[in-house]
Symmetry: C2
Subunit: 348 residues, 2 copies
């Protein structure tokens, strides 16, 4: 039986350049798969699916069975942490998440570790189940939203077009706002440590809306919280790699690549792979970055772009992935073709 | 009387570094101004306002009277060109633009120059009026949407979250799609040349949704069309500077800075000014890039960010501007403070 540290994903995150990189896909479990939609129908709302360990385990495993990725990512949602902080969260069909927004002049939530873990206990159980049921060569990735991104939902009360309320708060009252970011960061660290104790072998922090901030605010609201969470994790679990995904920050990925304690950086599809090879890969493992809309298109335009990413980034520490999650209309057969392409690629 | 080429904006676009840079603001005419809302009420729908030379002239002049910018930008909309190509366009209150979408398997619109100029004639009249009524030191900027951005509306039928239809078309059937881009580019060049003949002294091409494309598609769909339009303009008007604004392309601004025939590049607020000073400004004039949400916040956070941009980019050819247009909730008094700050800045 292979040692768990031999898993391709973990080797890549230790900085090894492999003969062929490991791969997984953001939103690899989800609506584009008919078996997902079947399992989904057994749950009540979307949050119920996240909190049902039997169902969350099943949907996490489904894409692995089909495509044999090198890593599975826990099926959950980034808005479970606000729930663990006591905020009301619901998912309305066709409307997305709706939260009772936290306002600038009201009380900032207090982190109550007991309540947090009680709320999120079913997630830890899902992780524990997965660490037993996954094939032995498949790494298990835990995850959470990064504090800035989670806070956008907490303050705007849901998704947002250009983040008017949170940006005004962050700009006009930075000390007060930092308290919110710190509470979310500390809750996130506790949450991820429990995932690790239940069996997660790496964790990824999704900062999907990092792109909403001008660069002068990256250090305080994006890079700093990421470092804070990584340090808290490594105090207890020094060998667990942390992957950051500050989406859409463009040239500032060169700064993100220098965040202490981060083993991997996921780059979005707006980045030129050759730029990342020059400015990011010398510092840590790069993950990415195929445009998921290219997988909807499929065919030659997809395989050419995927091959270009592999050829450009495969000569250093690298994890093949998308630059953003699969969209629901992705044809499963295109995903199969993409998976075979990566599995068949070898360093030239 | 000063020679028109002495205008600060035109000097900056010729590559001069000035004692204090010229400034104007994207969406400087618009809903944040009470006098705009009054004029707006005299028109029918939003398109009626664009096609009424008396009213469009008035709203173009309003911010100049208040704040004394160094440039006025024609008040119009990027969707007038699709109208000039015969596409049905309307603005529904609270919903934004709605177009009868062009589909991949239907006929691509044919450029009929006579119809185009007949439709857009009132815009040329607005430009002609403005070239007489503007203060003598204020430059007049004409503008249009860049072909990719205009095409997103033409194909998606309005605004879009992630451009599923047009991206699938552009990815899966690139030759056919290129024909649409070329038609829009050629119509745009004709439109801008007429603006120039009516008195526009510089033109800006807004590629607001350039950010929707992976870098492998920039050359064909963003940089190439921009070059094609600039070449068509310069064949007749070699001295008219063209400003490009490929919004949100991040590190690829370094490539955009090398597009032949472009005098200025407008950078969005996601860019670090010092990165632009290093990678863009050596090649051409930089314009930008304050986050308009910082003007909503106002106070020290706004003045500090504006000063940082001026200090970082003011030592080379530079036009102070926003990184995206003003939002309706911008307090006019914050704009006044910002304008005074720029007017009072001097190279150190």
């Amino acid at each position: 039986m292979p040692h768990k540290n031999d898993k391709l994903l973990l080797r890549a995150l230790r900085g090894e350049t492999l003969e062929r990189p490991p791969f997984w896909f953001m939103r690899q479990a989800g609506r584009y798969l008919p078996e997902y939609r079947e399992t989904r129908a057994q749950a009540g709302d979307f949050l119920d699916l996240c909190y049902r360990p039997d169902l969350a385990e099943e949907v996490t495993l489904q894409p692995i069975r089909r495509y044999g990725m090198d890593a599975a990512i826990l099926f959950a949602d980034i808005l479970l942490v606000p729930q663990g902080l006591g905020q009301h969260v619901e998912f309305r069909a066709g409307e997305g998440p709706v939260l009772e927004p936290i306002t600038r002049n009201a009380d900032i939530p207090v982190l109550d570790a007991e309540r947090l873990h009680e709320t999120l206990g079913p997630v830890y159980e899902t992780v524990a189940r997965l660490s037993k049921s996954l094939p032995e060569n498949v790494a298990l990735i835990g995850f959470a939203g990064a504090p800035w991104t989670v806070a956008t939902y907490m303050v705007e009360g849901g998704g947002s077009k250009d983040y008017p309320t949170i940006k005004n708060w962050a700009f006009a009252d930075p000390e007060n706002f930092q308290r919110l970011i710190d509470v979310v960061a500390d809750a996130t660290a506790l949450y991820l440590k429990k995932q690790i104790e239940a069996g997660a072998e790496a964790v990824q922090l999704f900062d999907t809306w990092a792109m909403a901030l001008p660069p002068a605010f990256h250090e305080r609201l994006v890079f700093g919280p990421l470092r804070r969470i990584a340090e808290a994790i490594h105090a207890d679990h020094p060998d667990i790699p942390v992957i950051g995904f500050p989406r859409g920050i463009g040239a500032a990925y060169a700064q993100a690549a220098r965040i202490r304690g981060i083993a991997g950086l996921s780059i979005d599809w707006s980045m030129d792979p050759s730029w990342a090879a020059e400015h990011v890969q010398p510092h840590l493992t790069v993950q990415g970055n195929l445009d998921p809309r290219l997988v909807v298109a499929g065919g030659e335009v997809m395989t050419r772009a995927a091959s270009d990413i592999l050829d450009t980034l495969g000569d250093g520490p690298f994890i093949f992935n998308l630059g953003h999650g699969f969209v629901p209309e992705t044809p499963p057969e295109h995903v199969a073709e993409l998976a075979e392409l990566v599995k068949g690629w070898r360093r030239g």
